[in-house]
């Protein structure tokens, strides 16, 4: 009840007219403007300290970024690799007649090798797309389109990314049967259920390698083995996995894999689709045109973005061990820091770190209202599991599929850590989370009742 009222109040304030003045000026300026106005407020000894004001919230400084599953900052090595192709080496890689085209094509092919090297594939098996969403769409709709006369069934899970679920719904509207497999409370898929679901007319199984909300790592080798045995294509959305955990398309018998640039410290707007050639995976193209990318994705290949993706993959291959160790250490610090100072904290996802990517820590704080928690944590940039922060009031479908209760789903916070996260940021996140949760709980009558030992589930609320 409290939650709904609070959310409604916030909805109302969000619908009030936003400030337009700065936007208009920026639109007319030819020079890229910094996002904040830095000159308001006195300068301190440490340099300019401006007050940033956006969406009615005043910030004294830029928040600490702890939302690595949403996107990652570009590694300076990636930017360095891209800049020559954004300045003077601007040719179209498909131009065959001059230096600009030749050097651009060389850069694209080098990038292809770098990406293939990261996942154990052959460069000819990498297709560049505009991102993992397009790769997922191409894989699912492309395979279904090719097999529409021979097959009729697709299997996926309930915790997939929206683009996969939406593509499957699109197929359902065109007469395909789709099985959305449930997951266990820790997020892992039950292999026996998958085996039982495969039919003779199944064309594709799509299971994401690492989930973006709770970080669960699915048993890729076993799923791949099962699919190969039953003659079904295995597609995986590897956006959160590639470059972060070791992925080998041959070891895991993966037939199709989506790769996202901006999740591995690369640029936004670029991704790749791995399409196996031995045994050959057949699919229809989604983008019609000049037949680029082996006819599977027409359109000029964006050289700077592709070079960035390649550089990101090369850096990831070198840094994977170091990054994993770093992120494991930070996760331990964050989790024990919060759970040692707060009660009523639930981990969403498997507790076993062998089955969860440590850079993704999704915690639910009981007896706290979700939207007020997120609004209070404005000095760290985190994401909430509930879609309360977006337009609808529904809790995240992933948490619902895990069987998490609605109140807990509303108060979930996802901490995303990565290569550039520091110990000091984690410590600050712990302090802020603990102090804010305590502050909210102090105000909560439900918390008082829990402290007195009342079982909330046994209360009969009076109807007014």
């Amino acid at each position: 009840m409290l939650q709904r009222v609070a959310c409604q109040l916030l909805q109302a304030s969000r619908l009030a007219a936003p400030t337009m003045g700065n936007q208009v000026i920026r639109g007319l300026s030819a020079v890229p403007q910094p996002a904040e106005d830095a000159d308001s407020g006195p300068s301190t000894s440490g340099g300019r300290s401006g007050v940033i004001e956006k969406k009615g919230i005043a910030l004294r400084g830029v928040p600490l970024y702890l939302d690595m599953q949403a996107t990652t900052p570009m590694d300076p090595r990636v930017i360095d690799a891209m800049l020559p192709y954004m300045t003077e080496q601007f040719g179209n890689p498909h131009s065959r007649t001059h230096l600009y085209g030749w050097e651009s094509e060389e850069a694209v092919e080098d990038a292809r090798k770098q990406i293939a090297g990261l996942i154990g594939a052959d460069p000819k098996e990498i297709i560049f797309t505009s991102g993992a969403t397009e790769s997922n769409n191409t894989a699912i709709k492309g395979v279904a389109g090719y097999f529409k006369d021979k097959k009729k069934h697709v299997i996926t899970t309930q915790t997939e990314h929206k683009c996969v679920l939406d593509s499957c719904r699109w197929l359902q509207q065109r007469g395909w049967d789709v099985t959305y497999l449930p997951v266990r409370p820790d997020g892992l898929l039950d292999l026996a259920q998958l085996e039982a679901a495969i039919r003779p007319d199944t064309a594709l199984v799509s299971v994401m390698a690492v989930n973006n909300e709770i970080g669960v790592v699915q048993p890729m080798d076993e799923i791949g083995e099962l699919c190969r045995k039953r003659g079904v294509y295995f597609h995986t959305d590897g956006a959160q996995a590639v470059g972060k955990i070791p992925v080998d398309v041959n070891k895991s018998k993966i037939d199709l894999m989506s790769i996202s640039g901006h999740k591995i410290y690369g640029p936004k707007g670029i991704g790749a689709l791995y399409v196996r050639r031995r045994p050959r995976v057949r699919l229809e193209a989604l983008m019609s045109g000049g037949g680029q990318e082996r006819g599977l994705r027409s359109g000029t290949v964006p050289t700077p973005l592709v070079v960035g993706l390649g550089a990101a993959c090369a850096v990831a291959a070198r840094e994977m061990e170091s990054d994993l160790a770093h992120v494991r250490r930070l996760e331990e610090r964050l989790r024990t820091g919060i759970t040692s100072r707060l009660q009523g904290v639930h981990l969403n996802g498997p507790a076993d770190l062998a089955r969860r990517y440590p850079g993704n820590l999704n915690l639910s704080f009981a007896y706290v209202e979700g939207e007020s928690l997120i609004m209070g944590l404005k000095e760290i940039a985190v994401s909430s599991g509930s879609a309360c922060t977006s337009a609808s009031l529904e809790p995240s479908y992933v948490l619902r599929a895990l069987g998490v209760e609605e109140e807990l789903a509303h108060t979930s916070i996802r901490y995303g850590m990565g290569r550039f996260t520091t110990d000091a940021e984690v410590d600050r996140a712990i302090d802020m989370t603990v102090s804010h949760v305590n502050k909210l709980r102090e105000m909560s009558p439900l918390w008082e009742m829990v402290q007195e030992g009342v079982d909330l589930k046994s209360i009969q609320w009076a109807q007014h």
């Binding site: 910094p34 400084g61 830029v62 090595r77 930017i79 550039f420 000091a424």
Partner: protein, 101 residues
Amino acid sequence: MSAASEARSLFRALLRAGKHFPNYNVREYIQRRAREGFHDGAKLTDPAAVKSLLELGRQELEVVKRQSVVYGLYGRKVKNVLELDLPAFQPAGKPPASASL
């Protein structure tokens, strides 16, 4: 110059260049990763591996210098909350004027 002394001077140069990097997260990353990389690299014995690692180190030093300039031109003007609260986390002021790239 022997590989060991070259590694030492490269390490010092990387740390020095990294201290001036305008972005807090990258600055901390350079310090941490350089220490880790050179510490682990010191244990290598194969001369070819040592040579390629030193070459990589030299390239990364150039990247740090170039990207320092880029982030300085296009980065934010407002600091993050850690840098505001704790001066120890701020960059070490302007690099020497004769920065050769």
